[in-house]
């Protein structure tokens, strides 16, 4: 809808984005800090932990990834706590292009058909490749069984003001995804620097057809800072209120503890609202987080603090 509304000439895109309300950095940080004081205890905490587990995009994005590591990862994705079948499976696994088929096949083999495989794409993490390569990257991943594509935007183009180029790339990748894959657009907010840019990039991605907007690659610091997540949640909320299109949000990078994760859920609840408290619309890109969630879950069940060797390392 928005894609139709904005006639996507460079100048109209630019003026649309520049006319978005600005973000006061101090105010956004203050709001995030206030929400961070929410105290989530007992039953709420238990629910929040399970909800968070179900939202984890369990991720490994290392040059040293091996088929064995991927198989281990997807096993954990399906049964985060092998001794406790009550624990929900994670939202998705997120891997590099060449690991997609391995992840997909293993998930299918062990009964994890319902867990999607997300592939980082478009020359992740830098995005420095030709459009042809980016398209090929995406097509390969989908062909290998990826049902979610986590693409990066061209931050260089964005920062230089060439919103049209960024827009067109997203549109092109979205066209390839079609009905076969959900598109998550990684803004790499650490490189966009300002919250005004985060808001602009969020709208640009949503207008171009993103199903999700994702904060970061995880390769750049700062990543999913609280004010960044807050601004992106405001963007999807307002986009939904205006156009009725519900776009998801995925913070990724730096969310390592249960406290961090629950904080994310509080941000969601008090910013975008309950509609987003759903793995279809909120994901947390993480790797180490899952174990902390499991340990906290054990603490709630047993009443004592869990040990690190009671959860699996991968």
């Amino acid at each position: 809808m928005m894609r139709i509304n904005i006639d996507s000439t460079p100048s109209s895109l630019k003026s649309f984005l520049n006319e978005l309300p600005k973000v006061d950095q101090v105010g956004a940080a203050a709001r995030a800090a206030m929400l961070a004081t929410r105290s989530i205890k007992n039953d709420s905490k238990k629910k929040a932990i399970d909800l968070a587990i179900s939202m984890v995009d369990l991720t490994t994005l290392e040059g040293s990834d091996t088929p064995g590591k991927i198989k281990s990862l997807v096993t954990k994705a399906l049964h985060p706590d092998p001794s406790n079948p009550d624990v929900p499976h994670v939202g998705a696994v997120c891997v590099y292009n060449d690991m997609v088929s391995i992840a997909r096949a293993e998930l299918d083999r062990i009964g994890g058909q319902s867990i999607p495989v997300a592939a980082v794409s478009t020359a992740f993490p830098s995005g420095r490749a030709s459009m042809a390569v980016k398209i090929q990257d995406t097509q390969d991943a989908i062909a290998a069984g990826a049902s979610e594509i986590d693409m990066v935007i061209d931050r260089g183009a964005f920062l230089s003001g060439d919103y049209k180029l960024v827009f067109d790339e997203i549109v092109a990748i979205k066209d390839i995804c079609g009905q076969k894959a959900h598109l998550k657009v990684i803004l790499e907010t650490g490189e966009l620097v300002t919250l005004d840019n985060v808001r602009k990039a969020s709208y640009l991605a949503m207008a171009a057809g993103a199903d999700f907007i994702r904060t970061s690659t995880g390769k750049i610091s700062p990543a999913a800072t609280p004010p960044v997540v807050l601004v992106m949640l405001e963007a999807v909320r307002d986009f939904y209120n205006t156009l009725g299109i519900q776009v998801g949000v995925k913070p990724a990078g730096g969310i390592r503890t249960t406290k961090d994760a629950i904080r994310q859920l509080v941000f969601v609840k008090e910013t975008a609202g309950d509609l987003w408290l759903d793995p279809r619309f909120f994901r947390i890109g993480a790797s180490a987080l899952l174990n902390d969630l499991l340990m906290q879950r054990m603490k709630l069940q047993t009443g004592y603090y869990a040990g690190r060797n009671y959860v699996t390392i991968d």
Binding site: D24, Q25, V26, G27, A29, V193, T194
Partner: protein, 286 residues
């Protein structure tokens, strides 16, 4: 015909309101006599309605005067000193007439008064620096405090200070951007009106200084209760009058200041008595 036979042209002393010289709307004047009982003049006896008109003028003049640049206000005050210097003899004459003092006493007082205008002129663009501040709040905010003019101020100058005290009360009030209504002491209207006549030929905008003569005991209650008067310099009032002023002035929380007599009146408290401090916070971020 010899000059000594010439009939003097006697002067009529009027009120000074909004840059104009007017008779009291009440039609009243009173007899001013010197210490030996000799008739000097018939100054106007200002009424509550004259006060009301003066307040209207002072209120109307406030915004323009307060918003003039400090540099501009400083030059206007300095210009007053220039004009005074040129016409100091008129003031010396008025002073001697009223007080019966010697020429040299009068001259000393008048010259000190003129110098006071120069002193005050120099304050216009320094007061914010001296009285303002930036405040290191514990957070991502730029925070500063700046003085601002209060508004309309009524002045009851100390009579014993003569022209110097009169100059001090007016100049220290208006240099910060306030407008003034001077209620001259009953016994000292000539100096005040002479000053008014000089101000009228200076660059002080109409309504910035208004001078009423008459009985301060009559005008004080109306000053105290007028809701458009923001501050009162009460140094010339007696204890009883001051108490009444404070009680009635509490209705709109007038800022009331009472200064001890002074040798030179060059005290920054005279300026700071009629300013408000405004503190502004702004977020610091990108």
């Amino acid at each position: 015909m010899a000059t000594s036979d010439r009939i003097d042209v006697k002067k009529t002393y009027k009120l000074y309101i909004n840059g104009e010289f007017v008779r009291s709307e009440s039609g009243r004047s009173y007899e001013l006599k010197n210490k030996t009982g000799k008739f000097i003049a018939n100054p106007a006896q200002g009424s509550r309605k004259d006060l009301r008109d003066a307040v209207t003028a002072a209120r109307a003049a406030h915004s323009g005067w307060a918003n003039a640049t400090a540099y501009n206000r400083g030059q206007v005050l300095y210009r007053v000193a220039e004009v005074l210097e040129q016409r100091k003899n008129e003031l010396i004459t008025a002073y001697t007439l009223e007080t019966g003092s010697t020429q040299s006493v009068a001259q000393k007082n008048v010259l000190a008064g003129i110098d006071y205008w120069v002193w005050a002129a120099g304050w216009s663009d320094k007061i914010a620096t001296v009285l303002g501040s930036t405040n290191p709040v514990a957070g991502p905010f730029y925070n500063f405090t700046a003085p601002e003019s209060l508004g309309v101020v009524a002045n009851f100058p100390i009579i014993s200070g003569g022209f110097l005290a009169l100059s001090a009360t007016i100049a220290s009030t208006i240099v910060t951007g306030n407008t003034s209504i001077v209620v001259a002491n009953e016994k000292s209207p000539l100096i005040a009106i002479t000053l008014a006549e000089i101000l009228a030929t200076s660059d002080v905008p109409n309504g910035v200084v208004n001078i009423l003569t008459g009985k301060d005991s009559e005008l004080q209650p109306w000053v105290a209760s007028h809701m458009e008067i923001d501050g009162v310099e009460a140094s010339g009032l007696n204890k009883k009058s001051l108490g009444e002023l404070k009680i009635a002035g509490a209705q709109n929380f007038k800022r009331i200041a009472y200064f001890k007599n002074s040798t030179d009146y060059k005290e920054i408290e005279r300026l700071s008595a009629f300013i408000e401090y405004k503190t502004v916070w702004h977020t610091v971020g990108y």
